[in-house]
Every structure is written in C-alpha cells, then in structure tokens.
C-alpha cells in the first residue's frame, strides 16, 4: 500500500500519523504511541477521509486519537507523559567496573579485559567509597548498582565493601537500592554465594548457547566455561528456592551474545536456556565495542541473517509458550511493553532520548566516569569521547551538566534524527549515539546504514506482523511478556 494509491487524500480528516506496510496490513501510529493495523481498503478510506461517523472503523480511529476534531487532548497529554516519565529523574543504573582482570577470554569481549596479573586495574576501597557517594547523589529515588568487570568476582573484597558502605550511606538518603552482578561465575564458591544471597544481590551471567558454542567463544584455561556457569546457575536457583523465593520470579538471568557461529543454532540456544530454568532470553547481536571490533570479520554477519535467526528463535519460543513453557525474548518484551502497555520500561538503550548520562553512568576502576558502559569500553580502546569526569574531582551536578551528556540527549532524540523523525516506530524506539559514533563516526548516525536501526526495525516489523495475524495464543503470550516481573525481594529500602 502506498500513498500514491490514495485517490484524493484528505488534509482535514486525520490527525498527524505515520504509516508503514506490515505484512498484508497498513500500520498507523501517532505521537502518543497509539497504533492500529488497518486493512488496505480501511487505510485508503482513512487517508481519503471517507469514513462515516457511525462506522466501527471511525470509532476505532477516534478512540486512539487518529481523527481530527474527535481528539481527547487530556488523554493525549497523559499518554505522552506516561511514556516520558523517566525524564523527571536522573540516572538509576550505576555500573561499577571493580576490575578489568578476567580469567576468561571471549572472542567478542565487551569488557576490554586485562590479564589476571594486571592488579593495577583493581578498584581500591577508597575510590569505591567516593564512587558510592557520587551514586547516592543522583536525583533518582531508585538506584541500581551493577558490578561489572573484567570479572567482578576477581575483586570480591571490594564488591563486599561497596555493598556494606552503600547500605550504610543510604541510611542518610533513603534510596530504593538494588545490587546486581554480571559474572561468568567460574570463580564462584559457596562462601561468596552465601554472601551474595544474604545481601540480595541479583546475579546475571552469560550463556552463549550449547556447550560447544559457549566454550569456543568463551575460553577458560583448563576447564569448560559452560560447565562452570551452568553448574552455578543451578546452584544459585536452588539457593533461591531454599530461602523460599518463587522460582518463576527469582532466578539467575543469563545473556546471549549472538555471533555468526550461533546463527544456525537458534533452536539449540533456546533449548539450552529453557533447560537451565531461565525464563528470559535476550537475543543480542554483537556490538562494535571491545574486542569485537578486531575480530569482527570472524564473528559479524549481515543483519538480514540475524533477523532470520531472531524470528526463527522467537517463533519457536512462541510455540513453547503454547505448550506451557515460560520463556520470553527480552527485545520483544521491551518493545511490546511500549506498544501494548503504553509505558516505557526504561530500558536505557532503547529509550528516547537514550539513557547516556541521564539514565545510567559507568564508573571505571580508576575513578573515571563515563556516560555509559559502551562509552567506557571505547575509552579502553583509546577513544575517550564519552568521558565526563572523575569521582574525586567532578561534582554530581557537573557530571549531569557536562556538554557530552547534553549532546547525547539531543543526538538520541528521535525528533532530531532524519528517518526516525518520520518513522512509524518512533514512539517505541531508541537510538544509541555511542554505537553511531563507533560505527559511523558521528553521534547522530545515518539510520539507513545503521545495523542497530536494521535490528530495531526488523524486530518491530516482526512483532506487528504477529499482532496483525491475531493468533489468540500468541497475543496471550505477548501480553504475558509485558508483565513486569516482581523483584521486591531484591529491593533494599531504607527509611531516612
């Protein structure tokens, strides 16, 4: 369907909308994020303004604020406010790199790792305290401190110190505090696990699929990285159950990095996650940060091939859900929450504007502060564009007022982006200026040539096609995927 097929477009019937052909239907969306999937003849009537006020189509359109003169301005404002509620607060995600040292070597290493003897890349207790002081100065009432590396278990003493210092310091400011740790789990032991469970630290790991793929991509000297990780996933989940937590809500989260090798293995990857008791799978493509840049020719792939991998895996997950298996795809869940739920789940990489600085901050082992973890990784590769200060010398307000933070807030505003400004998916989408900077040399980027845009557009095309097909079981699963998982156990409130 194309606008040229419209005989006499009406300029007075419709409120501003964007359209795109998805499968056999025409998708229309508006600024507040309402959508409708129309049959081609319905779309023609809509564009020509030839719809009777009594018709069912008119009601559908008017209800969603697509008809001029029938708009409900109050609802429009409420919807836009709900989608942008994150703008009122500062960063809630605070990533602390407690060391660059890592005992595994990964082909795509996101973390710009250092060898185990590079002890100078360990965060000290003194800098850790200054980092926590900076974190607790955020205007956001909710604070998540995420331990990253390298491998955070390598510098576990400082992880413990941060937790204890933050809990104590938080007594004065009363934030809703959460701790998470991203670990390959190979250095976990009973003592560390006991401490992490007792202190309510959420644990997240990487699983790249079945053992042969995982171990090829993530090398652990003299052992199988996959066996170590899966052993501890099961142990941690058992521990959660032992202390009375509901296993459907509380379990280890795992992340996948999709390399070329993984593309034909979509079924085996989903099966691996299900067998480990994971309820979510995040089918992330490789990104251009860390080692991935150097090894790109071996692990990269055209995004068309990725989309084939993605849709095959998600179709399979939908089938499993029909059979009663609970497993969701994270990208789909993020987009569906915005599409069906009308709210922004505040996933910082797919947000408008993105979370760089104003939603997340990354603190390096040496006290340097970055707009985000991707910016921190680029610094490790020799590009310090996204460095905004130092925990010792820069005040919190100066970090937030930094010109780079301002530039990124503007560059990731989809109203300022060619393509995005007219894109049907604008209400639900987000761009990453750091990705643009790395892959295209400009924080604004050219979306037509962006691999990130290709993925976002491809996934949303797929989701709207599925919505258009209207299969009740799929719709039911999609609805479930938009339900926010309860994590009350991990929240550590503190009355001031």
């Amino acid at each position: 369907m194309n606008l040229l097929q419209i005989r006499k477009p009406s300029t007075s019937f419709a409120l501003p909308f964007k359209h795109r052909t998805v499968g056999k239907r025409v998708l229309i969306t508006n600024t507040e994020g309402n959508f409708l999937l129309l049959q081609p003849d319905e779309f023609r009537a809509f564009a020509e303004g030839s719809i009777g006020r009594e018709s069912e189509l008119y009601k559908r359109l008017a209800e969603r604020n697509f008809v001029r003169g029938a708009e409900n301005q109050e609802r429009m404002v409420e919807r836009i406010q709900a989608r942008k509620s994150f703008l009122s607060y500062g960063p809630n995600l605070h990533i602390i790199v407690v060391t660059l040292r890592c005992n595994e070597t990964c082909v795509y290493c996101h973390a710009s790792r250092a060898n185990m003897d590079a002890v100078h890349t360990d965060l000290t207790k003194e800098l850790a305290e200054k980092t926590v002081d900076k974190i607790l100065a955020t205007t956001n009432p909710n604070v998540t401190i995420e331990f990253q590396g390298g491998e955070p278990l390598v510098n576990f003493g400082v992880v413990k110190h941060i937790i204890e210092y933050a809990l104590e310091a938080n007594k004065k400011v009363g934030k809703q505090l959460e701790f998470t740790m991203v670990s390959n789990l190979s250095l976990m032991d009973d003592e560390k696990l006991e401490y992490l469970v007792k202190n309510k630290v959420q644990i997240c790991t990487s699983i790249d699929g079945p053992e042969h793929i995982h171990d090829k991509q993530r090398k652990l000297p003299q052992a199988s990285a996959h066996q170590k990780a899966t052993y501890w996933i099961k142990r941690i989940n058992q521990e959660y159950e032992r202390i009375g937590l509901d296993p459907t809500l509380y379990h280890v989260e795992a992340l996948l990095t999709t390399t070329r090798e993984a593309l034909p293995q979509w079924k085996a990857i989903v099966d691996t996650y299900v067998s480990l008791g994971c309820k979510a799978l995040f089918l992330r493509p490789v990104d251009p940060f860390g080692f991935a840049d150097k090894t790109g020719h071996r692990i990269e792939y055209p995004r068309k091939e990725y989309m084939h991998f993605y849709t095959s895996a998600v179709e399979y997950m939908l089938e499993l859900n029909k059979q009663g298996v609970q497993i969701l795809e994270r990208f789909a869940a993020i987009f569906l929450t915005k599409i069906l739920g009308g709210e922004d789940p505040n996933f910082l990489d797919i947000r408008n504007p993105c979370g760089a600085g104003i939603g997340q901050i990354a603190y390096n082992y040496d006290g340097k502060v970055f707009t985000c973890d991707e910016g921190r990784m680029l610094h490790e590769m020799g590009d310090s564009t996204f460095l905004i200060g130092d925990v010792e010398t820069t005040s919190y307000r100066d970090l937030m007022g930094h010109e780079t933070v301002r530039a990124l807030a503007i560059a990731s505003n989809l109203e300022a982006q060619p393509d995005c400004v007219n894109c049907t998916y604008q209400p639900y989408c987000g761009v990453c200026p750091v990705h643009n900077h790395k892959s295209q040399g400009t924080i604004f980027g050219r979306m037509r040539e962006s691999t990130l845009c290709a993925v976002h557009k491809g996934i949303q095309d797929f989701l709207f096609e599925k919505l258009g097909e209207g299969d009740p079981a799929t719709l039911e699963t999609f609805k479930k995927w938009t339900t926010v998982r309860d994590r009350t156990h991990f929240l550590q409130s503190c009355a001031v």
Binding site: L87, M400, A416, R448
Partner: protein, 170 residues
C-alpha cells in the same frame, strides 16, 4: 590525472589518483554551509579535509587519506559515504529547526530532572558578584533603571517599547 566513478556524477566529484586525494563540489544553494561543516567533520579521523571555494556558489571539499591513499573501491566508498553524510546533515539541520520546540523541551526536562536543584553548598560557592553578570547591553536591567541611567549620562533616551514594536497607541 582526474578519473570518474560509476554512478557518481563526474562534474561533481574529481579524483586525482596520483595524489591519493579527491575533491567533491557542493552546490551552496542545495546544501547549507553548516551541513558541509558537519559532514566534513565526520571524516577527520580518516582523512585530512580541506574546504575552499573554486567558484561562486560552489564549495569544494577535498579529502586526502591519512593512512591509505584514496583509490579504487576505497575512494568510491569514501565519496559515497560523504555524499550520504552531507544529505543526512542537511536534512538534520532542517529537522532540528522544525522540531526545535520539542527537542528543547525534552532536553531541558531531562537535564533538569537529572541535575536536580543545587545544594546549599553549591549555592554558597556560586559567584553572584557583579562581574558574573556583566551586562553591557543592559538586558538584565529594568526599563526604568536603564532609562534613568542613560538620561543621567546625557545619552538620548531609549525608544519607548510600545512604539518600537507597533504596540497599542495611546
């Protein structure tokens, strides 16, 4: 010796293979200068970039490879990428003007939400002295103050604002 590329207009792009550089001519009536600057800037990590004006209404952008000479596929790719970036920058400049109000309000809201109010310590450290508010045009002054001051100095009185903007007649 100048050569041309398949699919790229020869009168716009000139490539000097022996110098490892190429020049692209931009029509000033199609592309604003700000877009030419923005697009040229994107290439400074890979190329040395020179701008000049060979004739009225034309801007010439010369790109010279920093590490590898620009030739063959690399040259075609670079010039093609430059043309795409130029279009992107020109359109972005237009969009930024059209959507200015939305972009500004979202950015202002995001930054003020993130920064929060200044603390008492920060307010105390703030420089409220006269110098910080150097106001040579008298913008921060009230009309009475400015008028009285100028009168005292013997300068001609400022024009009455109501008349200047064609406002209500008395």
């Amino acid at each position: 010796m100048p050569v041309t590329f398949d699919g790229i207009p020869g009168d716009l792009v000139e490539v000097e293979l022996d110098r490892g550089a190429m020049s692209l001519q931009v029509d000033e009536t199609l592309y604003p200068l700000e877009a030419v600057y923005a697009a040229a800037y994107v290439f400074i990590d890979r190329c040395y970039v020179f701008l000049d004006k060979p004739s009225e209404g034309r801007i010439r952008v010369t790109l010279s490879g920093k590490k590898a000479k620009l030739e063959g596929d690399l040259a075609r790719e670079t010039v093609g990428e430059f043309a795409n970036e130029l279009l992107s920058c020109a359109w972005r400049a237009q969009i930024a003007r059209d959507s200015r109000a939305t972009i500004e309000s979202v950015t202002a809201r995001a930054l003020s939400g993130a920064r929060g109010a200044p603390s008492l310590d920060e307010l105390e450290a703030f420089d409220f002295s006269e110098e910080a508010f150097d106001d040579p045009l008298g913008i921060a002054m009230s009309w009475e103050e400015k008028y009285a001051k100028k009168k005292k100095e013997g300068a001609a009185p400022a024009e009455e604002p109501a008349k200047a903007d064609g406002g209500a007649a008395k």
